[in-house]
C-alpha cells in the first residue's frame, strides 16, 4: 500500500492511472446503464428529473475527464519512456503529483453525491449562468469545479513532463524521426494540452469566484457575459476532444502495423497530420456555438472542415499499412478495426454538423449524442480496449484470453452500434439531449428501446472483459518479452520491465528496432 502511495517510477504511476481510470470507467458505465434504463420507455419514472440530471452529468464528466483523456495520458506515462529507451520520466515527483491530483480530483467530483442537494447537475459543459445558480446544485456543483480544476492542473503538469521526456530523454540513436507514432501522438497531445487547459482552469476559477466571492463574470445584470463562458469553455473543450483521440490514433497505428507485419505506412504523414489536427483544433471551438448567433459561423465551419483532411490522411495510412500485409485478426487488431469502422461514422457525421445549416437542426439533439459517442465511444474506447489487450502482457506480465477477448469485441461492437446508430434518427425525430423524459411520438419509443437493449449487450461485453482480467491475473502464466512480435523498443525488455526499463539498451538504427534483429 505505502509502496503505491509513494511510488514515483513511471511504470507504477502508469498502472495507477490505468487502474483508476478503469475504476472510473466502471462507475461511468453503470451511470450510462441508468440513463438507458430511464429512457428505455417514454415517460418513464425510474429516475426523477433531479436524479437524472446528476446521472448524465456525472456520466459525461467521468467518461471525458476521468476515463478517456487520462487513460491516454496514463498509458503514455507507462509507454513513452519504454518506447524511447529512457529509464523514467524527466520529473518523477512531478509525475506522482500529477497522478494524485487526478485521483483526488476525480474522487472530489463524485464526493458531490454525498453533498446536500446532490452532485453536480449542470451537464459536463456546466454552462454559466446555469452552473452559477445555487438552488438544486449546491456544494455538489462546487465540488465538481474544484475536482476538475485539480484534474486540469494534473493534466498540464503531466504534459510538460511528457514533452520534456520526449525531447530530452531519448536513448542514443533514437532520433525524433525514429520514435514510435504513439509517442509522436502524445507529443502533439501534450502541446495541445498546454494551449487548451489553462483557459479551462481560468474559467472554472472564474465560476468559483462568482459563486463564492461575489464576482459577476457571467451575469448580464451586472455587465457580465454568458457567451464569455462558452468561449473559454470551448476553447478548451474542442481541443479536449483531440486530447481524447490523438493518443488513440497512436495506439491504433502501433497495433495495426504490428498485426499487419509491416512498418507504419507514411510515417512522416502520420506525424504531420497529428500536429495539423492539434493545430487546427485550436481554431474551431465556436462550432459548438453556431446557434448562439454570436460568432462567425463561416470561419469556424471552414476551419472545422479542414480537420477532415489530416484525419483522412490517417485513415488512408492505416489502410496503406494493412495493404499487402499479413494481417492477423487478434483481439487487439479487431478492436482497432472496430475503431476505424465506428470512428469513420463519427468523422463523417462530424463534418456534417460542422456545416451550420445542418447544425441548426442537429445541435443539442440526439444526433449530436450519436456523433460524439461514435468518435469517443466507438473510436477512443475501442482503441482503449485494443491497447489493454495489446499491452496487458507487457504491463502485468500475463496475457488476456484471446477467445474471451474476441467475444468481448463482438458484444461491444454489436451493442455499441445498436445503442448509438438509432440516436441519429432520434435527433431527427425531435429528441433533445439531456432530457429525462420524452413523449411517445414518432418512432421515439422503438428507437429508444433498441438503444437501451444495445446498452445491455455492451454491459455484458464489459463484464466479460473484467472477468477476463481477473482470470488472467489468477492464472499467472508468464509471457515472453515480445508475445506479439512487436517492433518498438518496449518489446525488447522483460514483461513486466525491470525498474529502470532496460538492463542494456539494444542498438537503435531504425524505426523498427525489434524487427532489425
Amino acid at each position: 500500500m505505502i509502496e503505491w502511495l509513494t511510488a514515483t517510477n513511471h511504470k507504477k504511476i502508469g498502472i495507477l492511472y490505468i487502474v483508476s481510470t478503469l475504476a472510473f470507467f466502471v462507475v461511468a458505465s453503470l451511470l450510462a446503464g441508468l440513463i438507458r434504463a430511464q429512457l428505455a420507455r417514454p415517460e418513464n419514472t425510474l429516475l426523477d428529473a433531479h436524479q437524472y440530471n446528476q446521472v448524465f452529468t456525472l456520466h459525461g464528466t467521468a467518461m471525458i475527464f476521468l476515463v478517456i483523456a487520462p487513460f491516454g495520458i496514463g498509458l503514455a506515462n507507462y509507454l513513452v519512456p519504454l518506447q524511447i529507451g529512457a529509464p523514467d520520466m524527466a520529473f518523477p515527483r512531478l509525475n506522482a503529483i500529477g497522478v494524485w491530483l487526478f485521483i483526488l480530483g476525480g474522487l472530489t467530483v463524485f464526493a458531490g453525491l454525498a453533498a446536500y442537494g446532490g452532485a453536480a447537475a449542470a451537464g459536463w459543459t456546466a454552462y454559466a449562468p446555469l452552473s452559477e445558480l445555487t438552488e438544486g446544485t449546491g456544494a455538489g456543483q462546487d465540488l465538481w469545479f474544484v475536482g476538475l480544476l485539480l484534474v486540469s492542473v494534473s493534466t498540464i503538469l503531466t504534459s510538460i513532463n511528457l514533452l520534456v521526456t520526449i525531447f530530452l530523454f531519448r536513448a542514443p540513436g533514437m532520433t525524433m524521426w525514429r520514435i514510435p507514432i504513439f509517442t509522436w501522438e502524445i507529443a502533439a497531445t501534450a502541446v495541445l494540452v498546454l494551449m487548451a487547459f489553462p483557459p479551462l482552469a481560468a474559467v472554472f476559477a472564474m465560476v468559483l469566484i462568482d459563486r463564492h466571492l461575489g464576482g459577476h463574470f457571467f451575469d448580464p445584470a451586472y455587465g457580465g457575459n454568458p457567451i464569455l463562458y462558452q468561449h473559454l469553455f470551448w476553447f478548451f473543450g474542442h481541443p479536449e476532444v483531440y486530447v481524447m483521440i490523438l493518443p488513440y490514433f497512436g495506439i491504433v497505428t502501433e497495433i495495426v502495423a504490428t498485426f499487419s507485419r509491416k512498418p507504419v505506412f507514411g510515417y512522416v504523414g502520420m506525424v504531420l497530420s497529428a500536429f495539423a489536427i492539434a493545430g487546427l483544433s485550436l481554431g474551431v471551438w465556436a462550432h459548438h456555438m453556431f446557434t448562439t448567433g454570436a460568432v462567425s459561423n463561416p470561419f469556424f465551419a471552414a476551419v472545422s472542415f479542414l480537420i477532415a483532411i489530416p484525419t483522412g490522411v490517417k485513415f488512408v495510412n492505416w489502410i496503406g499499412t494493412m495493404w499487402k500485409g499479413s494481417i492477423e485478426l487478434s483481439t487487439a487488431m479487431l478492436f482497432c478495426i472496430g475503431f476505424m469502422l465506428n470512428f469513420l461514422i463519427g468523422g463523417i457525421t462530424g463534418v456534417m454538423i460542422a456545416s451550420p445549416p445542418i447544425d441548426y437542426a442537429a445541435h443539442d439533439t440526439y444526433f449530436i449524442v450519436q456523433h460524439f459517442h461514435y468518435t469517443i465511444g466507438g473510436g477512443s474506447m475501442f482503441a482503449l480496449f485494443g491497447a489493454l489487450f495489446f499491452w496487458f502482457p507487457k504491463i502485468f506480465g500475463v496475457r488476456l484470453d484471446e477467445r474471451m477477448g474476441k467475444w468481448t469485441f463482438a458484444l461491444l461492437f454489436a451493442g455499441f452500434n445498436a445503442t448509438f446508430l438509432p440516436m441519429a434518427f432520434m435527433g431527427l425525430e425531435g429528441m433533445a439531449r439531456r432530457v429525462y423524459t420524452y413523449p411517445p411520438i414518432g418512432h421515439l419509443a422503438l428507437l429508444n428501446g433498441i438503444a437501451s437493449f444495445g446498452a445491455l449487450v455492451m454491459g455484458v461485453g464489459t463484464a466479460l472483459f473484467f472477468i477476463n482480467v481477473v482470470a488472467a491475473v489468477r492464472r499467472r502464466v508468464p509471457v515472453p518479452p515480445n508475445p506479439w512480435d512487436g517492433y518498438s523498443l518496449e518489446w525488447l525488455t522483460a514483461s513486466p520491465p525491470p525498474e529502470f526499463n532496460f538492463h542494456e539498451l539494444p542498438p537503435i538504427r531504425s524505426r523498427i528496432p525489434a524487427w532489425d534483429r
Partner: protein
C-alpha cells in the same frame, strides 16, 4: 535545426496565421481574438526559448549513428523510486482549494502545509 525547434517554430507561425485570419474575419468578436492572440504569443515565446535552448542542447538521441556505448540510466543520473511528498502536495492542494471556498482557517492551515511539502519535496529532489 533540431526537430523540436522546428516543431515549435512551425506551431508559432501557425498560431500567428490563425490569429490574423480570425482578426480579419471576426475582429468585432473580442474574446476569440484575445484567446488566439494569447495563444500565438505563448507559442512565439516557446519557439523563442527553443531557439535559445538549442544552443546548449547536445543530445545523444539526436544523432542517428550515435555509438551505443552508454547504458540506460547511467548518464541521466539516478532516478528516485519513491517519495512521500507528491501525494501530500496533491492532498494539500485539494484542501487549500476547498478551504478557500468554505473555511478560511482550513485554507490557511492547508496553504502553509502545501508550502512546507513543496519545500521538502524540492529539498529531497536536490539530493536524489
Amino acid at each position: 535545426m533540431k526537430t523540436f525547434v522546428g516543431l515549435f517554430a512551425a506551431s508559432a507561425l501557425f498560431g500567428i496565421a490563425l490569429a490574423v485570419a480570425y482578426w480579419f474575419v471576426a475582429h468585432e468578436e473580442a474574446t476569440g481574438a484575445a484567446l488566439l492572440g494569447c495563444m500565438a504569443a505563448a507559442l512565439v515565446f516557446t519557439a523563442g526559448y527553443a531557439v535559445v535552448a538549442e544552443r546548449s542542447a547536445d543530445l545523444d538521441g539526436d544523432d542517428p549513428n550515435e555509438p551505443l556505448e552508454r547504458v540506460a540510466g547511467e548518464e541521466l543520473g539516478i532516478f528516485t523510486t519513491r517519495s512521500a511528498w507528491p501525494i501530500l502536495v496533491a492532498s494539500c492542494s485539494l484542501l487549500t482549494l476547498a478551504g478557500t471556498l468554505w473555511s478560511p482557517a482550513l485554507a490557511v492551515a492547508a496553504g502553509i502545509a502545501l508550502i512546507l511539502c513543496c519545500w521538502r519535496l524540492g529539498a529531497e529532489s536536490a539530493r536524489v
